[in-house]
């Protein structure tokens, strides 16, 4: 690990003052399970590390205006052990239950989950986020892309967004509070993510001098039927092969409006708008869920080795929908 200066602020304001104008200057440390790994491998080499876990205001779940506020450094274990705040959000609960590691749950934070970097093995092995070869071509399309994107993969980015919480949060219409030197901004979770277009652009829109402080679920989200289904190869600390999270505004058994968000299949949490259109106005049953699963795959562009993920999307969407109305 490259040497760094360690900051341990007790307020968000202090923390922001310790951050730098680019990512090389400083990194924000929460649970550390991803950042420290990246630093040990010299993938990330910040000059300063700013620990935000001593900022007590950032941790905890509470009800705010009928909605739910999750402080960014709330751990998975906080929610796993005391799931009461999630009672209306089984989709979040499922995502947390899917983290099959007592250790990862104890260390990992909800903010860290959103801001963890992609697991793409080219990236992690030092080929850069876009996995470019010496000629500037991505190694992914002709390489081993079994875990890579099937949506949003026109290039040059082919990695997948690894966040467990992003699909349910996007589906539920959650927003984020981000603080920076000029104050606070709020943005929909979906807007935290972007598909990088060139080297140097990150997959998150958060700026180097900003800190993610809160996740906010609106009161209206409590009325949504919601569920998440993760396709997991192992009951082990592992990333799902595909995830679908659904949030449904129902009128009786009829879907008035649906949000279907896929994880692990695109560089960003991927809205399956085809599935959403398929569901709108329908009475949700197995046949409709199956058709929605099919519709979710429209626009998929599998690479040489990840065609199976199309089927996983189909199944994940169907199972998430059926879980939502179970």
């Amino acid at each position: 690990m490259r040497p760094f200066e360690y900051g341990n602020p007790s307020t968000v304001k202090q923390a922001i003052s310790l951050l730098g104008s680019d990512w090389e200057q400083a990194a924000v440390l929460a649970g550390g399970t991803d950042l420290i790994s990246l630093m040990k491998d010299y993938i990330d080499t910040p000059k300063r590390v700013v620990n935000i876990k001593s900022i007590s205001a950032l941790r905890g779940a509470s009800e705010v205006n009928g909605g739910l506020r999750l402080g960014a450094t709330t751990t998975f274990e906080d929610l796993f052990e005391n799931p009461a705040p999630l009672r209306d959000f089984p989709s979040l609960r499922a995502a947390i239950d899917g983290i099959y590691s007592a250790q990862m749950r104890s260390m990992g934070t909800v903010g860290g989950d959103l801001l963890q970097r992609p697991r793409c093995w080219y990236y992690r092995n030092g080929f850069g986020l876009l996995a470019l070869d010496s000629k500037g071509q991505s190694l992914v399309p002709h390489g081993d892309n079994r875990y890579h994107a099937i949506f949003g993969n026109a290039g040059p980015a082919y990695f997948v967004s690894p966040s467990s919480l992003a699909p349910p949060l996007v589906a539920l219409g959650a927003t984020l509070r981000i603080q920076g030197p000029k104050g606070e901004r709020e943005l929909p979770v979906a807007e935290l993510f972007r598909i990088p277009r060139h080297t140097g652009e990150r997959e998150h829109t958060i700026q180097p001098k900003e800190i993610l402080t809160e996740i906010l679920l609106p009161a209206s989200a409590r009325r949504l039927r919601n569920a998440t289904y993760e396709v997991r190869e192992r009951h082990f600390m592992d990333w799902p092969l595909a995830t679908a999270s659904v949030a449904l505004r129902m009128e009786g058994r009829r879907v008035r409006q649906a949000r279907v968000v896929l994880g692990q299949v695109a560089p960003i949490p991927w809205r399956a708008e085809g599935a959403e259109r398929e569901l709108a106005g329908k009475t949700l049953d197995e046949a409709v869920a199956t058709r929605a699963g099919e519709a979710a795959t429209v626009g998929a562009h599998p690479l040489s080795k990840n065609g199976y993920k199309v089927q996983l999307v189909r199944v994940a969407v169907k199972r998430a929908l059926l879980a939502a109305i179970a």
């Binding site: 040497p3 790994s37 007592a102 990862m104 260390m107 600390m237």
Partner: protein
């Protein structure tokens, strides 16, 4: 690299150490404090061999900076035995064959401790869930969850006896 003076409370004892901020908790325990029970396995948060308890929670010391845990109570496998007497979880791993080559054992012991502290009467499924991400390469896992269930029973009996005596 500049070293900083930190204070770490490990197994009930407070240590003052001069360390660089980039030093991992695992390395401080093993190298600076000589507590080599916690192991470096995968070195990348994927095997559980380095698990220690931090304020009672199982955490991976291979991806933890020592400096971040200055105010915490850290427990390593060396801190489980009381007055040289192994605790029931350690006893059970011995008699149920939970340790084979033994390299993963300290990590399993710590994760088990955290589980039984919260849930003294776990079902097999709860044991499987709690220990899901500690990798063992040689026992066969069966003996490990049998060890955990046996330890849980022993702890419950011990507590019952203690209650009976105190009455």
């Amino acid at each position: 690299m500049t070293k900083e003076l930190i204070r770490l409370k490990v197994n009930g004892e407070t240590h003052e150490l001069a360390i660089a901020p980039n030093k991992l908790l695992l390395d401080v325990l093993r190298e600076d404090l000589g507590l080599t029970g916690s192991k470096r396995g995968c070195d990348d948060s994927s095997c559980g061999c380095c698990t220690v308890l931090i304020d009672g929670m199982p955490m991976l010391s291979c991806v933890a900076l020592a400096t971040s845990y200055q105010d915490a109570e850290i427990t390593t496998v060396e801190g489980l035995a009381r007055d040289g007497e192994l605790d029931p979880v350690q006893e059970a791993f011995m008699s149920w064959g939970g340790a084979q080559c033994g390299f993963c054992t300290p990590g399993f012991l710590m994760t088990t401790h955290a589980l039984l502290e919260k849930n003294p009467d776990p079902t097999l499924d709860q044991v499987r869930e709690a220990l899901a991400s500690n990798i063992c390469r040689c026992t066969g896992y069966t003996q490990i969850y049998e060890s955990v269930l046996a330890a849980a029973q022993k702890i419950r009996e011990k507590r019952k006896n203690e209650i009976a005596i105190s009455k």
